[in-house]
């Protein structure tokens, strides 16, 4: 039997479920490094003499391919089982770095698109879902904690890779080289070790005997409530949830994507270093939200948690639009809170899908709903940058540059509040169908 066969990854009797989370966190730490791309953006622009947009597309392509791979490859990835999915993800993610390194060495930007964007993006899509679904099977009594741990790793990837890539670029650069290709190769090697180690550690619980049971004593691995992915996407709750997820991500990206220039527009006295400090705080809020909110959702319930994201988000955006430039402390606190909602959405969503559609197909359904991430990755920057660019051309400066964009996102959140109420109203009816 192949070492990658799903049966080889089934845990032996007595295996502690606390030995499984590091595999999920480590894999997400590796693929989450995509969010540290901004560190490489400046050096790549200089290397290729390319525009912000041209280099920005490398990251956007990776996120779009992530969503498409998770959505359309979901059933195949589910058949792989977690270990094979992790190995396939490692092969693509690491190859993506290596191909991108070749692109930099050969001065061919299209090879970087192909490597980091397309090949790497497939690695992201294959690797994202499997660890989340596996941890949920081990922690059926605490699905929010399980998804929080896994998805926290994704947020942590940026925290890890930003200083690491900065240090690597500094150490590999020389009078004859900017060090980018060597940095890509070093990150590839590091991620290969981390991801393959994670794949060797991951285990599936044995169904029934030896497997975990949930808080009601039911064996892990499915129930009568399991809904097929095709049936799930025909339910109105799925699309309402998709919309709420989309708006929550758009609201996060609205701040994240433009954090540094935004805070400097609201508070012109701030230095660039202080603005970079603000970006760092947002990263911490993102990671804390991923773990904290979904863990809390195990206690207060997923509907209440999601209601908190959209109602709280609308309040944050309205306050920022009305009084954002009044006090820097309030601005920073509100922005960090909003980014924690953004992170919390990613970790609460898989657990919510499990609540609504059962455990068995949650990985495939999660893959489909991740298309909301791809859509928001395009919509969020378009809304904010489009409005800011237009007002800048009109000669407007300071906080007023951003106010209409804040109102647009607040309005989207208001619609999401209605959609969220619809989910709560409809879920009971769907459950009894």
């Amino acid at each position: 039997m192949s070492i990658l066969a799903p049966a080889r990854a089934i845990a032996p009797p007595g295996y502690s479920r606390w030995l499984v989370p590091p595999a999920a966190i480590a894999l997400h730490l590796a693929i989450g490094q995509v969010y540290a791309f901004s560190v490489l953006k400046g050096p790549l622009q200089e290397h290729f003499g390319a525009s912000h947009t041209a280099i920005g597309w490398i990251f956007s392509l990776a996120i779009v391919v992530l969503g498409l791979t998770a959505a359309f490859g979901g059933p195949l990835i589910a058949r792989f089982g977690p270990r094979k999915a992790m190995v396939v993800s490692a092969v693509f993610w690491v190859s993506g770095y290596l191909v991108a390194a070749a692109g930099v060495a050969l001065d061919q930007l299209w090879i970087v698109y192909l490597g980091y964007g397309l090949i790497g993006g497939i690695g992201l899509g294959v690797g994202y879902v499997a660890p989340v679904a596996t941890l949920m099977r081990w922690f059926p009594d605490k699905p929010g904690l399980a998804t929080g741990m896994a998805v926290m790793g994704f947020g942590g990837g940026a925290l890890l890779a930003s200083p690491l890539a900065t240090a690597m670029l500094a150490s590999f650069s020389s009078p004859t080289s900017d060090g980018i290709a060597a940095t890509f190769v070093a990150l590839a090697a590091l991620n290969a070790v981390l991801m393959l180690w994670a794949a060797s550690v991951v285990r599936e619980p044995a169904a029934g005997d030896g497997g975990e049971v949930d808080s009601h004593g039911s064996p892990v691995g499915g129930s009568d409530a399991d809904v097929q992915p095709r049936a799930a996407v025909r339910r109105p709750t799925f699309w309402l949830l998709w919309f709420v997820f989309f708006v929550n991500i758009t609201a996060g990206i609205g701040i994240l994507e433009t954090a540094s220039p935004m805070i400097q527009a609201f508070f012109p006295q701030l230095t660039a270093a202080a603005a970079a400090g603000f970006v760092g705080l947002l990263s911490l809020g993102n990671m804390a939200g991923r773990f904290g909110w979904s863990t809390l959702s195990d206690t207060i319930g997923r509907p209440a948690t999601l209601t908190g994201f959209v109602v709280g988000g609308a309040a944050v955006y309205v306050t920022l639009a009305l009084t954002g430039s009044a006090a820097i402390g309030v601005f920073v606190a509100l922005a960090v809170l909003q980014i924690s909602f953004y992170g919390g959405g990613f970790s609460t969503m898989p657990a919510y899908l499990k609540d609504l559609y059962g455990q068995r197909h949650v990985g495939v359904i999660l893959g489909i709903i991740l298309t909301a991430w791809s859509a928001a990755g395009v919509a969020g920057p378009l809304i904010v940058n489009g409005i800011v660019d237009a007002r800048e051309r009109a000669g407007i400066e300071g906080a007023a540059l951003y106010q209409p964009a804040l109102w647009v996102i607040a309005s989207l959140l208001a619609v999401a509040i209605v959609a969220n109420a619809g989910i709560i109203a409809l879920r009971r009816r769907e459950a009894t169908r």
Partner: protein
């Protein structure tokens, strides 16, 4: 369940905690420039 299997998992816990600790510390240092 072999000791080697458990050692790999515990070792990975250590790596994960150290990596997250490094990332968080570096980010807190960066964020402190705001205050």
């Amino acid at each position: 369940m072999s000791r080697w299997m458990v050692a790999r998992a515990v070792g990975l816990w250590v790596v994960v905690v150290v990596a997250l600790g490094y990332g968080i510390t570096m980010t807190v240092i960066k964020a402190s420039a705001l205050f």
